[in-house]
């Protein structure tokens, strides 16, 4: 039977080496009704993913040590998080950024500053994607 479900709380991982930024986004997502957690570097992020695969990863590209590209690659290579939606965020896009993000396995690229409408749009897309994926499995 077809029922309309309330928007399900998404499990979101926010990865950014700037703590204030990561924390702000996590807080905001929490306010919007989702379960968000921050990671401040690539190693931390991958550990979080293997502990519990999120629905969505919002990943800052430019990070020290492990870059966002590297994190994406490793997430795609792992089996647990194959279906995670990977969104790259950057404040300094270059000519080859789009190509590089696609190669690394990201599903889309967003530019900073991240406005609220863009964020809500993204969350809606993830929610419907999740629903489709689940219906597909039946």
């Amino acid at each position: 039977m077809h029922t309309s479900h309330p928007p399900r709380a998404l499990d979101i991982l926010v990865v950014d080496d700037h703590r204030e930024t990561a924390d702000a986004l996590v807080w905001l997502l929490g306010t919007l009704g989702h379960k968000a957690r921050p990671a401040y570097d690539g190693v931390d992020a991958l550990q979080c993913v293997s502990a519990r695969a999120p629905d969505l990863i919002i990943q800052d590209i430019h990070m020290p040590q492990m870059s966002g590209y590297e994190v994406a690659r490793q997430v795609r290579e792992g089996h647990a998080a194959q279906h995670v939606l990977l969104v790259a965020v950057t404040g300094f896009p270059k000519a080859n950024t789009t190509a590089l993000t696609r190669e690394a396995g990201f599903d889309s690229l967003l530019l900073k500053p991240l406005g609220l409408p863009v964020l809500e749009q993204l969350l809606a897309k993830v929610a419907s994607h999740r629903k489709d994926a689940r219906s597909g499995l039946r």
Binding site: E20, A24, T31, F92, K112
Partner: protein, 622 residues
């Protein structure tokens, strides 16, 4: 050669003719050289006598004289280490009417008649040298004839003394007045008068069995032109007397230490930052650059290659970096500007050529070629250094822009998103407050970044960081910093320890900035769960502050440049230090500028056992 030759002072190369021989010719002659002592008065050959040997004096003087039938004699010429005795052996005459007598005792290397004739007949370098010497000898003889005929006793005596001195290494001639009279072909009285005058004027002095010249310039002032004529001819015809004139390439290699020392001390004068680099690292590149230059000078260059090089078309070595390129990168890292880099090479050029010119006179055509090649080589090295330097500047700038874009855009993004949220309808007051707090945090971070940037720009424009010192207490400043850090990082342990008198005249706000920066760094990069230590100790005129954290140590090359701005160290390393590769790198630079503005000092040490320690020393009143 016999054992006496072991002593350096009796090397055959003491003799100018032997020293001037090309290596191959010398090596061929050398086994036939026999060292013999020549005591005073020895007759090397007699009038009409057959010569068995040719003699190359090292430190004796032989007079060629003619004894008249009546008895009086006169010196025709003298031969010392500038030449040889026995030209008739190779000129073909075999015998000669004159006799050769040792006028000043010493040694000579003799070569048998057979060998010298054989070598002479080869027609090579020795042949040419011997002929030129003979010409110089003729000039000496001719001038002697004229001088004896036309010039005063005193002048003749001066000429004779000067010519003798040129052929000895000491200012004392083993002569008696009677012997001098014999040489000059006059009776004793004539000489006595002249020597008496010279003695009275303090130019010479008699001692036991010898005449010592006290005032050589005095002799040169009194002598006639004959001395100059003879000397100039000898110098013109025969190669330099001193150690064999080195080609520039050999000179550079042989005097490497001397050149590097001069270059080092110059580098230290042009930039204080250079003083933080250990002498070994400055020298590393310098030595390699010089060696490369010396090698380049020596390699044969075709006419085409020479022309190409002068037009800058020579191959710039990018494969496997040259020492010069690495030097350019290193200088950029140390904060040199292009003018300073250029000055370094100018100093190198000047040092090398100055030291080289102090050597004995060069053969002009060879020296000219050497200098041209040297200059080309140095220009090449400079071009490589500059190209690489410019590269590093671009790279730094790109990094700066990238990091700036990232560092500012991140908190800006948070502010933007949160502001949007605040504008949305139906947000509770509680949520509004929380959002506002987060906006404030991001804004503060951005504000600090912009402030750092502006201050950095100000230092680059030569204005330095302004400080307004007031009577204040370091203790108070430390406590304020501690409170702030604890509020921002509640789960981090920060231990403060103070002692001594901490009062003085400081810009409290600025020092607070420094401590904030150091403490934040320490917390961010210290090992998780370990405390950060802040200590302040006042003693006499100085207050010493230390910020210490445990954890992964900073590598030595990073330590050397850690206070330099916009430096991206470790990007080629497998494990780059995060402190340097993400931030703008301005915090520590500005911290140092503030400390310097207080006339203090700041340094850092880092090891795995001791942790990382920043030490500040501030004068109580600046």
């Amino acid at each position: 050669m016999n054992d006496l030759a072991g002593r350096a002072s009796l090397s055959p190369k003491q003799n100018r003719l032997l020293a001037a021989l090309p290596e191959a010719d010398y090596d061929r002659l050398s086994p036939s050289l026999e060292l013999v002592p020549l005591p005073l008065g020895t007759a090397v050959y007699e009038s009409g006598g057959r010569l068995g040997y040719v003699y190359f004096p090292t430190d004796c003087i032989v007079s060629l004289l003619y004894v008249t039938e009546e008895g009086p004699s006169a010196e025709i010429a003298m031969a010392g280490n500038e030449g040889l005795v026995g030209i008739s052996l190779f000129m073909g005459g075999e015998t000669t009417p004159s006799r050769a007598v040792v006028q000043n005792a010493g040694h000579a290397y003799r070569v048998s008649a057979t060998v010298i004739k054989r070598e002479f007949d080869r027609g090579g370098a020795l042949h040419a040298l011997l002929l030129r010497y003979t010409q110089a000898l003729i000039t000496q003889m001719s001038q002697t004839a004229v001088c004896n005929r036309h010039h005063s006793m005193e002048q003749q005596l001066c000429r004779w003394l000067l010519l003798s001195l040129d052929r000895l290494s000491s200012p004392t001639l083993e002569m008696t007045e009677a012997l001098v009279a014999d040489m000059l072909g006059v009776d004793g009285d004539g000489v006595a008068g002249a020597t008496g005058m010279l003695q009275a004027d303090g130019v010479i002095r008699y001692s036991a069995g010898g005449i010592t010249v006290l005032d050589r310039p005095g002799l040169e002032r009194r002598v006639c032109e004959c001395y100059g004529v003879v000397k100039r001819e000898v110098d013109r015809l025969l190669p330099a007397k001193d150690e064999q004139a080195l080609r520039l390439a050999q000179f550079i290699v042989r005097h490497m230490e001397e050149i590097l020392t001069e270059w080092d001390s110059f580098a230290l004068t042009i930039l204080p930052a250079a003083a933080t680099m250990s002498p070994v690292s400055l020298r590393d590149h310098a030595k390699q650059i010089l060696e490369a230059i010396a090698k380049d000078i020596q390699t044969h260059q075709t006419g085409q290659e020479q022309s190409d090089k002068s037009k800058g078309l020579a191959r710039l070595l990018w494969d496997g970096e040259t020492a010069a390129a690495a030097h350019g990168a290193g200088r950029h890292l140390s904060g040199f500007d292009l003018l300073q880099l250029g000055s370094e090479y100018r100093a190198l050029r000047a040092s090398v050529l100055r030291l080289w010119s102090l050597q004995a006179a060069q053969e002009h055509s060879l020296a000219f070629t050497d200098i041209t090649r040297f200059n080309e080589s140095v220009d090449q090295a400079l071009a490589e250094s500059i190209a690489r330097y410019a590269d590093e500047v671009s790279r730094s700038r790109d990094t700066f822009l990238a990091v700036l874009g990232h560092d500012l855009r991140s908190p800006l993004s948070a502010v933007s998103t949160l502001a949007d949220y605040l504008l949305a309808p139906g947000v509770s007051e509680g949520k509004q407050l929380q959002a506002a707090v987060r906006i404030r945090r991001s804004a503060t971070a951005m504000s600090a970044m912009v402030r750092d940037l502006l201050e950095y720009t100000r230092t680059q424009l030569g204005q330095g960081i302004p400080v307004a010192p007031q009577p204040s207490s370091i203790g108070q400043i430390c406590e304020t910093a501690q409170d702030e850090i604890r509020a921002a990082h509640p789960d981090c342990a920060l231990l403060l320890e103070t002692s001594g008198d901490l009062d003085g005249v400081f810009d409290a706000a600025r020092l607070h900035q420094v401590l904030s920066n150091l403490l934040n760094n320490a917390i961010q990069h210290g090992a998780a769960g370990t405390p950060v230590f802040l200590t302040a100790h006042g003693e006499n005129d100085t207050i010493t502050l230390q910020v210490k954290n445990r954890g992964r140590s900073i590598p030595p090359d990073a330590l050397q440049v850690i206070f330099n701005p916009l430096v991206r160290v470790g990007s080629t390393q497998a494990d780059p230090d995060p402190r340097l590769s993400t931030s703008l790198g301005l915090g520590l630079f500005i911290a140092r500028e503030i400390v310097l503005a207080h006339h203090g000092s700041i340094e850092v040490t880092s090891s795995d056992e001791g942790g990382t320690v920043f030490t500040l020393r501030l004068p109580r009143a600046s």
